[in-house]
Symmetry: C2
């Protein structure tokens, strides 16, 4: 049984969670996770995918490995990485919702798009 909410103001817990989320918070790392969703890949394949220096890619993978998001398997000269926690993928659907909201809000057809500079609007610069 997993206690949903441990001791309140357990600051350390949120630091642990932040550490893991930080390991996700980079475009190249997200791209690699997306690729790993369809199965394990060697570093060389991931390097070609993201297009950065291979040492950069290796370090990105190390960050995710240290966070427990991926795991690796050595096979001769190659190291293959794979997702360790597939539930991560479901989260990305939620991120898509955020982006969808953003896109809708940016639509010129929506209300309050012209002239509606009210106090409630945080970007209102009317004096």
């Amino acid at each position: 049984m997993v206690r949903k909410k441990p001791i309140t103001s357990s600051r350390g817990l949120f630091e642990d969670k932040a550490r893991i989320i930080k390991a996700l918070a980079h475009p190249s790392r997200l791209l690699m996770i997306d690729a790993l969703a369809s199965g394990e890949k060697c570093v060389c394949e991931l390097q070609e995918l993201v297009g950065s220096d291979i040492t950069t890619v290796s370090k990105h993978l190390a960050v995710m490995k240290r966070a427990g998001i991926v795991e690796d398997r050595k096979d001769g000269l190659w190291v293959h990485y794979r997702l360790k926690v597939p539930c991560i993928l479901r989260f990305f659907d939620c991120i898509d919702i955020v982006l969808e909201n953003e896109r809708e809000a940016g639509k010129p057809s929506g209300p309050a798009r012209r002239g509606a500079c009210l106090a409630e609007k945080p970007n209102c610069r009317k004096r």
Copy 2:
């Protein structure tokens, strides 16, 4: 620092996603999201919760608002923030799984706890 041009056309999408995930990747912000799960709170309440300077808290909230994670509502002198995308919360269960794995791996009762410093173990410092 040289930023390479994207190789895949969807590179920009991953940059957008990373921007949103970055907005989650801070212990104070996670703490606030956790608090907002039970309903909207004013900045002053959140400030008391996280214990940082109120300007710091305000900036954290601005980061999350810009990312589309929270939204605000002005009520007299107060500004109340609330979650805009509750599905974020479900994601945290997945983060808990990662932490659970980590804790299990670190258990002193498990195998390979003493002397088993193998090449496969990331924390192996044997040369």
